[in-house]
């Protein structure tokens, strides 16, 4: 491959494809045409953003994390606390929550650099359990098992007051999702993101061509943590309530399923997965609200036994053709 050819191959994914425009137009249409489903749309956007952040860790950097809820939960509690303490501007709350979660991601990133998949899994799981235990114990700060109540959130940019139908909430979450998606898309296709993907596919060779592995992984992990924190903050702000549930293990497992349903490593996976997951949850919970977990487990098992490639191979093949075939 010539130099020019290589440059073009690397630049190809950076260009916007028709299908990507269609995807975002469809979301815009859903917001405009289905006002009665705004609450669901808001939840979907938040879940999608959370799954997007996991995709950066799992799909792009290849780190299996079983405790991504730690960052989501920290973001939620931070945003909730800020709101409770009187700093009611939502955007500022998002930034602070993102910073807090990013800081935790930075601090714990050193722990996931070493070891096998099993070690990483254990460490991420332990970190999220420590966070859950902290939130449970620091009752004066978090409200413990009762949840954090009395959160006050002001109008977005001082003009858009949150309404009870979730119109403003859904628009707010979707816009934040879109902006952070743009950031993630730009990062992944920039030299930084290419380096991270190289590390995921072959650490030894990446080191040999001079990629600073440790620094790149710390950076992507911290960024993903910050995005997860912002997703959590969105949940806290739009529902004005935070409970221990935001840090629970099933949240980490669910977001993994969401990402896997949509497919890892191409950023839209988390969003597509979130849409499918929420629709499915909406349907199945109507049938058996209590045993939603059973269906969740069944999907997990079926997906793996049948083979993810076989289930999702088709849409991904279509996607690759659209992207102009690497």
């Amino acid at each position: 491959m010539t130099y020019e050819g290589a440059r073009q191959a690397l630049a190809a994914p950076r260009r916007w494809q028709t299908m990507e425009f269609d995807f975002w137009l469809a979301i815009l249409a859903a917001y405009a045409l289905l006002p009665e489903r705004s609450l669901l749309l808001n939840e979907t956007a938040i879940l999608g953003l959370f799954a997007l952040s996991l995709d950066l860790v799992l799909g792009i950097a290849g780190i299996v994390s079983l405790g991504h809820a730690a960052f989501f939960g920290l973001g939620a509690y931070t945003a909730g606390l800020i709101g409770k303490l009187g700093l009611t501007e939502p955007i500022l709350g998002l930034l602070i929550a993102g910073l807090a979660a990013g800081a935790l991601g930075f601090a714990t990133s050193f722990l996931v650099l070493r070891g096998s998949d099993l070690t990483r899994l254990m460490v991420t799981l332990s970190v999220s359990l420590v966070m859950l235990e902290l939130a449970n114990r620091l009752t004066t700060l978090t409200g413990g098992a009762d949840g954090l109540q009395g959160i006050v959130i002001g109008a977005v940019l001082g003009t858009f007051e949150f309404d009870m139908f979730g119109r403003v909430a859904a628009a707010y979450s979707l816009i934040i999702l879109f902006l952070l998606f743009l950031l993630a898309r730009w990062l992944v296709n920039a030299p930084f993101g290419l380096a991270v993907q190289a590390i995921a596919s072959n650490p030894l060779r990446s080191a040999a061509i001079g990629i600073p592995i440790t620094r790149r992984l710390i950076a992507i992990y911290s960024i993903a943590a910050a995005i997860a924190g912002i997703a959590g903050a969105l949940l806290a702000q739009t529902t004005q309530f935070v409970s221990l549930d935001v840090l629970a293990f099933h949240r980490s497992a669910e977001v993994m399923l969401v990402l896997v349903i949509g497919g890892t490593g191409y950023l839209y996976g988390g969003l597509v997965g979130a849409v499918l997951f929420k629709l499915l949850q909406d349907q199945l919970s109507d049938l058996t609200p209590q045993y939603w977990q059973f269906w969740l487990g069944l999907i997990f098992v079926a997906l793996v036994v049948i083979g993810r490639e076989r289930v999702f191979g088709f849409p991904q093949a279509v996607w690759r053709r659209i992207r102009g075939g690497v």
Partner: protein, 286 residues
């Protein structure tokens, strides 16, 4: 102080019996089975139903619970697990979490979400005075049974032909296959025995551990700690790790009740950062 030590010992030995099957799964097939606790839960519930529902004597219910969990383990191994061994770790994690969720929902549906209490026979409720320390007969039974099992396992592993084959399969599955050892069969048997032991542990420890549908998730971390800290080479590592964990957990919850759980998780993180391949792992960089 001594009472705590004995309680910790009983707890740790339970953890060992519960988790030793997992260490083989992980060691032989490099398979991350997060659903191991589901087999322990199955054993526990079988025992509860037998003892409380049908009046089966507790000591008879224990082997039956082990048998049930073992059969369940072999059935699942043959039908589902065999398809997943060669997959990526992500697939294994997804698969076994799925099993955990299914198990939790099924138990919740059939038995209800409340904690189950086993009607212990009267002779296990007394306290025995052993001179320096008084021990509950129940805990003593746990220590004796689990200790005997640990010794038996070690003997099987070290002295029998099956044990030698198993060790060979753990050390190098490819070479073991080349020597004509049927690694798959060995693994299926071991998986069944491991599940049976987990079931026995779940039945035996139902009163100490607390049995409810969230059992597999609650103890998943503990099992993983035993296995990762102990390493997959032999029984000694996981055994020592389980005893240490048991004593540390009981002591931590007794002396620092408000931060008990932190101690364990923080220790785990520190340990994994310090020795990513386990506390007692051989120094070789494999």
């Amino acid at each position: 102080m001594l009472t705590i030590l004995v309680d910790g010992l009983a707890y740790g030995m339970l953890l060992f019996v519960l988790a030793c099957g997992l260490s083989v799964t992980l060691g032989v097939m490099n398979f991350i089975n997060l659903a191991h606790g589901a087999f322990a839960m199955a054993g526990g519930y079988v025992a509860v139903v037998l003892v409380n529902g049908y009046g089966v004597p507790f000591l008879l219910a224990l082997p039956l619970a082990a048998l049930a969990a073992g059969l369940l383990g072999i059935a699942l191994e043959q039908t589902l697990y065999v398809h997943v061994y060669r997959r990526t770790h992500l697939d294994q994690v997804l698969f076994s979490i799925g099993l955990v969720f299914i198990a939790m929902a099924v138990v919740d549906y059939t038995q209800g979400s409340q904690q189950q209490f086993l009607n212990l026979p009267a002779f296990l409720k007394v306290r025995l005075d052993l001179g320096v320390v008084s021990v509950g007969a129940y805990r003593l039974l746990i220590i004796v049974v689990c200790g005997a099992l640990a010794l038996a396992l070690q003997a099987i592993l070290a002295r029998t032909r099956f044990g030698a084959r198993l060790r060979a399969s753990v050390d190098d599955p490819i070479a073991a296959r080349g020597l004509g050892i049927n690694v798959n069969a060995i693994f299926a048997i071991t998986f069944g025995v491991g599940s049976a032991l987990a079931g026995l542990g779940g039945a035996l420890g139902a009163e100490i551990l607390g049995l409810d549908p969230s059992f597999p998730l609650k103890f998943m971390v503990y099992f993983l700690i035993v296995v990762t800290a102990g390493g997959a080479a032999g029984m000694t590592g996981p055994f020592l790790a389980a005893i240490l964990l048991g004593v540390a957990d009981v002591a931590g919850k007794y002396y620092f009740p408000s931060i008990g759980a932190f101690i364990i998780y923080t220790l785990v993180i520190a340990l994994l950062v310090w020795r990513p391949n386990g506390l007692f792992a051989a120094a070789s960089g494999r």
